[in-house]
């Protein structure tokens, strides 16, 4: 489904989302291994887990109260980086605990669901329960997940494409019908329930610049979410490639087809913001990122690997100083004025219509997270909405389409 066109007012549309990774903050200082695949699950404390799940859900619900347009959750397995193996469980809670925000699941890793009609069913449930507020994210799954699931990475792209086709058909074609693919053979596809939004929920695809993904998104006129932790110039190149892929398909993409995911922290002053944030950011970079970038054989085509390798040197794991973080805009941190100014400059530079802010990161405690969300909502978001007057109108149109 295409995102909506520019608004009549001339300003491009920007929607504001609060994205939560649900990171595990309790890795002991003496553990210096990866946070993925082999990170021992003895390090997971269920009591702490229960506490932070509830806290993180509260932080997402709070975003609605503060006036955000939407909230985002995502899927990762067997890791400390994000303890949300089932984002659909969290999204279903949010469907009941919120009433207005869009709920973006970014996304379900389609090849990990067998059969993937499970995704069609669960997304449709969330869409019905939330009154049509779901944004359906679909993703190939991270490299580490192909180890964690012992799923053949050389089949990742094929399975993703086939699962996508199956889900779209399950949502839009009358059932029952038979589906005969290479990886999935189902004699009776007849998904109950069907999604409330017609023809189906808005679809987002996250990516790190693989050419196959960009071409896929452009072809289907979906929205592309650039995954963070690279130098800002990488995003610029990635979104340029996305626009080129859309031009190849013969159209100009709407800014709402582009999303930028970035860590954001707001405090009273620039100095105060850095003082409160920096340690938590480094916990995230040095403790939770190691292992995320593993790329199993065949997972990415050779031509895409070549493209991604060009960017690898700027991956956040290589960061050594706060100056580099600021220079490369790996996180937008500062007073409300500073943050508004930097975000406005980058929204313009990247041409994106969706700003996905990671407000909680690493070990950032609840009070700091809430204060940052409040300052963002009270001072940054209004300034940006004034700069992009088409925002609310565009959001309504997106909901209606």
């Amino acid at each position: 489904m295409a995102a909506t066109a520019h608004t009549d007012e001339g300003g491009s549309a920007v929607r504001f989302f609060s994205f939560h990774l649900m990171p595990y903050p309790g890795l002991p200082p003496e553990y210096d291994g990866p946070a993925w695949i082999t990170c021992p699950n003895e390090l997971f404390d269920p009591a702490l887990g229960g506490e932070i799940y509830n806290r993180y859900i509260d932080e997402l619900v709070y975003a609605e109260e503060l006036g955000f347009d939407g909230v985002c959750v995502n899927e990762h397995h067997q890791n400390a980086y994000g303890i949300m193996p089932s984002p659909n469980l969290i999204a279903s809670i949010l469907a009941r605990q919120t009433s207005r925000v869009r709920i973006a699941v970014v996304g379900n890793a389609l090849p990990l669901y067998d059969p993937p009609t499970r995704v069609a069913e669960e997304f449709a449930m969330i869409d019905c329960i939330s009154g049509g507020r779901l944004i359906a994210g679909m993703v190939v799954g991270g490299g580490p997940e192909y180890y964690s699931f012992s799923l053949n990475p050389a089949h990742a792209r094929e399975r993703f494409a086939e699962a996508h086709d199956l889900i779209l058909r399950a949502w839009t074609e009358p059932g029952p019908f038979e589906f005969t693919g290479k990886h999935y053979k189902l004699r009776y596809v007849n998904s109950w329930p069907r999604p409330l939004q017609k023809p189906h929920p808005e679809i987002w695809i996250p990516g790190v610049g693989s050419l196959e993904t960009l071409e896929f998104v452009a072809k289907h006129r979906y929205a592309y979410m650039g995954i963070p932790y690279f130098h800002i110039s990488v995003f610029e190149r990635m979104f340029t490639m996305m626009r080129e892929a859309c031009h190849e398909e013969g159209y100009e993409p709407d800014p709402l087809q582009l999303g930028w995911l970035v860590p954001i922290f707001v405090a009273e002053s620039d100095a105060e913001a850095r003082r409160r944030y920096e340690d938590h950011f480094w916990y995230f970079v040095r403790r939770l990122l190691p292992g995320i970038n593993i790329s199993p054989p065949g997972y990415t085509s050779v031509r895409s690997v070549e493209n991604i390798m060009k960017n690898a040197g700027t991956f956040a794991l290589n960061l050594t100083s706060w100056d580099e973080v600021v220079e490369g805009e790996y996180a937008i941190v500062g007073s409300p004025d500073t943050v508004a100014e930097k975000l406005a400059a980058n929204i313009e530079r990247l041409g994106v219509g969706n700003l996905l802010g990671l407000f909680q990161l690493g070990t950032l405690p609840a009070p700091d997270t809430r204060r940052s969300l409040e300052l963002f909502a009270a001072e940054v978001m209004p300034a940006l909405r004034r700069a992009y007057p088409g925002t609310e109108r565009a959001d309504l149109e997106a909901s209606a389409s």
């Binding site: 990475p153 050389a154 054989p297 050779v302």
Partner: protein
């Protein structure tokens, strides 16, 4: 030593690179390579080609060989090897296979026993032996793998792997032409060996069908495949024996070409 020349063979999945040379012997000899794709310039093959017609096809995904898109698992691989034998015009060659190539050779020999005259398996994968797992090869640092593949740390391949491991710290600086063949080889290996990991659960029950007299070579410093795998092959293949070689690890045919050539010649009756 008799250098091989590079030729191209049309197969059902696409054009395949085949290194060929030598002549003579009671039957042609086919070499099936490991995940290393070690065929080009391989001393063992040049040595064997002194007395034999030798053909070493590169599996799809390796070298210039096309057709990986048509291969999804070890069964597709076995049918591809059969196709290669047909197109080479080899009714009943001797087959030597190392590691992954040994697995493919034995998959062929269980399905079409009359297409193999004699069989040599060097550190073959293909089996699951409880308590003796095959070492993980995917996603491992190259400097660690080097010691498991090659016993001599000064061997050129071990030196190259350690150099590439150093470069992995700065991936943007690695010349892509150096990386491309490694990526393709690993992707091809993943296609047949990701899960089940480098084995076929049905293979043990089929080994009774191998007619060819079989030599299983185990290198004592193999850091990838434990000796129990060689023992399991020998226990289940009707006419099989085991030979140990010292001073070599997993890629024994690369590291000890003279010793392996001697064992091969003895087994083939040359």
């Amino acid at each position: 030593m008799s250098p091989l020349s590079v030729t191209t063979l049309d197969t059902a999945v696409g054009a395949v690179e085949v290194h060929r040379g030598g002549s003579g012997g009671p039957a042609p000899l086919v070499y099936l390579h490991s995940a290393q794709g070690e065929v080009p310039g391989m001393a063992l093959l040049e040595e064997l080609a002194v007395t034999r017609a030798v053909a070493a096809p590169l599996f799809p995904g390796f070298g210039a060989s096309e057709g990986l898109g048509a291969i999804d698992d070890i069964e597709d691989a076995a049918f591809h090897v059969l196709d290669v034998l047909d197109r080479l015009g080899f009714a009943q060659p001797d087959i030597v296979g190392m590691s992954l190539g040994g697995w493919m050779a034995v998959e062929l020999a269980t399905r079409w026993p009359d297409r193999v005259r004699r069989l040599v398996l060097v550190n073959p994968v293909g089996l699951h032996v409880p308590g003796a797992p095959i070492t993980e090869i995917f996603g491992r640092p190259l400097d660690e793998l080097a010691g498991e593949l090659i016993a001599d740390p000064e061997h050129p391949l071990a030196v190259l792997m350690r150099a590439m491991a150093d470069m992995e710290q700065h991936p943007g600086d690695i010349p892509f032409e150096l990386v491309r063949p490694v990526l393709q080889a690993l992707a091809a290996t993943a296609k047949v060996g990701w899960n089940p990991y480098l084995h076929n659960p049905k293979l043990p029950g089929r080994l009774r069908r191998v007619d060819a007299p079989t030599l299983v070579v185990h290198a004592l410093h193999d850091g990838i495949v434990p000796r129990a795998h060689a023992e399991a092959y020998v226990a289940r293949i009707p006419d099989a024996r085991l030979a140990d070689i010292d001073g070599a690890a997993h890629l024994a045919a690369l590291e000890r070409p003279d010793e392996v050539a001697k064992l091969v010649r003895e087994h083939l009756g040359d």
